[in-house]
């Protein structure tokens, strides 16, 4: 149609107009063509990498010997977490060059891959890095419509983390049993969210950490809007709202209608509000990811769920609980809401629905890589993500979590390597990771287009409930309405449902 322009054309035209005018105003006479072009071709090939500041520095340190050995140069763009995502999304949306290789959050894959911003990973690279060794939960985050567009770097998922030493304490256990009628398990921690709640209640308000103050609480979670609330709430809700017979979780795959206000989500939020208001440290309804981690590592709460709790819990500078923590898959539930039937189904064995929270950082190659740098770039990512390199990253203090079958077997490296987990903790940690990433009822994080807006809508509603501004049902009704409205703006409910199916690998 004559009066319509595509989004990219629109952005390009606007950018081009501004650029042209700016150039017209300030341009100096053009430099004459010279033999500089020939000199350029003889210069070193530069590989440009954009990534997180901290993780990127480790990548740079690890890759520099390889880069120098091959006669290349490496330029690294360092960004903060949110800044990096924003930069990548904007470069994708405006079709502008950011870097040859970039690290990006896998739940932006619909936006990034679908926009044609990435190169498909060549078969030779997949073979060279032994791609079959990557766990299924991670493979999904690297794929789009059956093709692989990114390489694994970090198996980011939420683990349940608890104080093994407290749960093994006979005196504490007998008091717990008197109150709730069953034993605390130092092997598994809470197996269901009901148990989690009992533990929350039991460990609040008495001096179990023996520091002379009653500053001890049951749990701490990430509850701050604009921080990591999305993951904090969804990890709490999946066991109630993700039915094993239904692939969908966030929206209905047939209609595209949001499910966020169904009884499963409402139960999760109702319970969570009670837990965070009564059994978490003061300020627990506005905790960042770091706050919740600090509360656990500072020995003030008995349990939490988080990402790389392992790394920070091992350092004497940041933790008083080295070697005392246990890990497991997120708790499950005997009752699961069935969105298809509209009823709660009962399971004799608790149903787990571990949340692949965030889904991990992945490494991708830009579609705009210069022909000259093509081999260098693919060589770089191959070396960075091959099994030996991956193992070196996940067993060091990098914050990267395991994602390969072979890494799950490397107990010794986790136990005695830089992380110094010890054998028992290492085995717990690896079992939890494997069980989560290989779970048939695992919940893939939201990754269909516009996920940032959906995330903000959910965080707003949940935050209102946590602040008692709205009852949980009303808050989630607002969330569901906002989800549907966003879906309409993003192309329609059906359109978003189709994209959701693709992110689930359907």
């Amino acid at each position: 149609m004559a009066n319509k322009v595509s989004r990219r054309q629109f952005l390009r035209l606007a950018g081009g107009a501004a650029g042209a005018m700016a150039l017209a105003a300030c341009a100096a006479p053009a430099a004459p063509a010279s033999s500089g072009d020939e000199a350029m071709s003889q210069e070193k090939i530069v590989i440009r990498y954009a990534g997180l500041d901290g993780m990127g520095a480790r990548v740079e340190a690890f890759m520099l010997p390889w880069v120098e050995e091959n006669g290349y140069e490496l330029e690294r763009g360092a960004f903060g977490q949110q800044e990096l995502t924003d930069k990548i999304m904007q470069s994708v949306a405006t079709d502008t060059y950011l870097a040859d290789i970039f690290q990006f959050p896998s739940n932006a894959r619909a936006d990034v891959i679908n926009a044609g911003a990435l190169q498909e990973i060549p078969t030779e690279v997949l073979e060279a890095i032994d791609f079959d060794d990557v766990l299924p939960g991670i493979v999904n985050t690297l794929s789009w419509e059956g093709k692989i567009y990114a390489l694994p770097y970090d198996g980011d998922i939420h683990y349940y983390s608890f104080r093994k030493d407290l749960f093994a304490n006979e005196d504490i256990n007998s008091r717990f049993k008197d109150s709730f009628g069953y034993d605390l398990s130092p092997d598994t921690g809470a197996v269901t969210w009901d148990q989690w709640r009992n533990i929350c209640e039991f460990f609040t308000g008495w001096d179990w950490n023996e520091n002379g103050e009653e500053d001890d609480f049951g749990a701490a979670c990430m509850t701050k809007r604009g921080d990591t609330l999305w993951w904090g709430f969804n990890s709490r809700a999946t066991a109630y709202a993700k039915h094993p017979d239904d692939d969908a979780y966030f929206i209905d795959l047939d209609t595209g209608e949001a499910r966020l206000n169904n009884p499963g989500f409402v139960r999760a939020l109702t319970e969570w509000v009670e837990e965070m208001q009564n059994w978490a440290p003061p300020g627990g309804t506005n905790f960042t990811y770091g706050d919740s981690l600090n509360a656990m590592n500072g020995g003030r709460v008995a349990q939490t769920y988080n990402w790389d709790a392992v790394t920070s819990a091992t350092s004497p500078e940041t933790s008083v609980i080295q070697g005392l923590q246990g890990y497991n898959i997120l708790p499950g539930s005997h009752e699961v809401f069935n969105s298809k039937s509209g009823e709660w189904d009962y399971f004799d064995i608790p149903s787990h629905a571990p949340f692949h929270a965030f889904g991990g950082w992945v490494i991708a190659v830009s579609a705009q890589v210069d022909d000259l740098a093509y081999d260098a770039v693919w060589g770089f990512v191959t070396h960075l993500t091959k099994p030996e390199s991956g193992l070196a990253f996940v067993t060091d203090l990098t914050g990267a979590s395991p994602y390969r079958f072979s890494q799950m077997e490397a107990v010794e490296e986790f136990a005695t390597g830089p992380l110094q987990l010890g054998e028992e903790v290492a085995m717990d940690y690896l079992n939890a990771a494997r069980e989560t990433l290989d779970h048939p009822n695992a919940v893939t994080d939201q990754a269909f287009g516009g996920w940032v807006q959906y995330r903000d809508a959910l965080e707003l509603g949940v935050s209102k409930a946590l602040a008692n501004e709205l009852p949980p049902q009303d808050a989630l009704d607002e969330v569901a309405a906002a989800f549907n409205e966003i879906s309409e703006r993003m192309g329609g409910l059906q359109h978003q449902a189709e994209l959701y199916a693709r992110t689930l690998g359907k």
Partner: protein, 308 residues
């Protein structure tokens, strides 16, 4: 017969024309660059506000002209009006407090003869710190509910800790406290400069005429510092309307939506969410409100100062 003197352009006049022309010629590049950098985004944003432009919509969608749809949505959007209310409350909380603190401290500083330079430098320091740093250090650390020093002191004195960041009311108070801490210095320095511009002989003359200190302050000092005070107030009001950094760091807009400002909402919608169309309509709404407010403020203050 008296003849009217004939007016010929003088040499001086011709020189002035040339002088003005040269000024314009030299100014032109700068004006052009500013116009481009200002006009292009302003016009582009206005256009976007009338479309359904979305950065992250996937598929073969075309950007369409939607008329006033985004503004209609804005008018009926409860969430947006909540942020507007928060912004006004914030502005009304911080600006008067900064004016009172600024004036009190500036008056005190103006009357001391030793150490004035030291204090002036001292009061510059909060202004040199990034709001993000201030929010983190002054905000998240001091106001930390669990182990923060403020609640620690309160508990040691036998009071309950205050839910600084989890109560909607107290979260707003904490934000205001941080902003007042940082920006009162600006008022102090501006008002001190204004006070130092008041000729001391006026006060001496008033004293000779029998005026007391209060009369001298109201009749001489206040009118003379009024222009700078009004300018400083306008700057602070506009800044308060645009507050975003300290909210992002300290509360993220929460608890609930209790501290989300209009600017933070625009950032979330347009920049992070990619909904440039709706974000642009929000931005234009804020721009129009600020222009109306700023214009009215200037007219009223000029009238009040008898310049009209």
């Amino acid at each position: 017969m008296a003849t009217e003197p004939q007016i010929y352009p003088s040499k001086r006049f011709r020189f002035e024309i040339k002088d003005n022309l040269w000024k314009w010629i030299f100014l032109l590049p700068a004006v052009a660059i500013i116009l481009i950098l200002l006009a292009v985004p302003v016009v582009w944003t206005l256009y976007a506000a009338f479309t359904d432009l979305h950065l992250y919509r996937i598929g073969d969608f075309e950007t369409e002209f939607v008329g006033l749809a985004n503004f209609e949505k804005l008018m009926s959007n409860r969430s947006f009006w909540r942020t507007a209310r928060n912004t006004v409350v914030f502005m009304l909380g911080v600006v008067p407090a900064q004016l009172i603190i600024g004036l009190t401290v500036a008056l005190a500083l103006n009357n001391i003869t030793r150490g004035q330079k030291l204090f002036r430098t001292w009061f510059l320091m909060p202004l040199m710190v990034s709001p993000v740093v201030v929010s983190f250090i002054v905000g998240r650390m001091l106001f930390q509910e669990d182990i923060g020093p403020i609640n620690d002191i309160l508990r040691n004195l036998g009071f309950e800790g205050v839910p600084w960041l989890t109560s909607p009311t107290w979260a707003m108070v904490a934000l205001m406290a941080i902003d007042v801490w940082q920006w009162s210095s600006f008022m102090i320095l501006m008002l001190l400069a204004a006070l130092q511009g008041v000729p001391p002989d006026l006060h001496e003359a008033a004293r000779v005429d029998g005026a007391n200190q209060l009369q001298s302050f109201w009749r001489i000092t206040v009118p003379l510092i009024m222009p700078i005070t009004m300018t400083a107030l306008l700057i602070r009001i506009i800044d308060a309307f645009k507050v975003v950094e300290i909210i992002m760091v300290l509360t993220g807009g929460g608890p609930g939506q209790a501290t989300e400002s209009v600017t933070l909402a625009i950032y979330r919608t347009g920049v992070k969410g990619g909904d440039l169309a709706f974000g642009s309509s929000q931005a234009y709404f804020l721009l129009i409100v600020l222009m109306i407010f700023g214009g009215a403020y200037l007219v009223l203050t000029r009238r009040a100062m008898g310049k009209d």
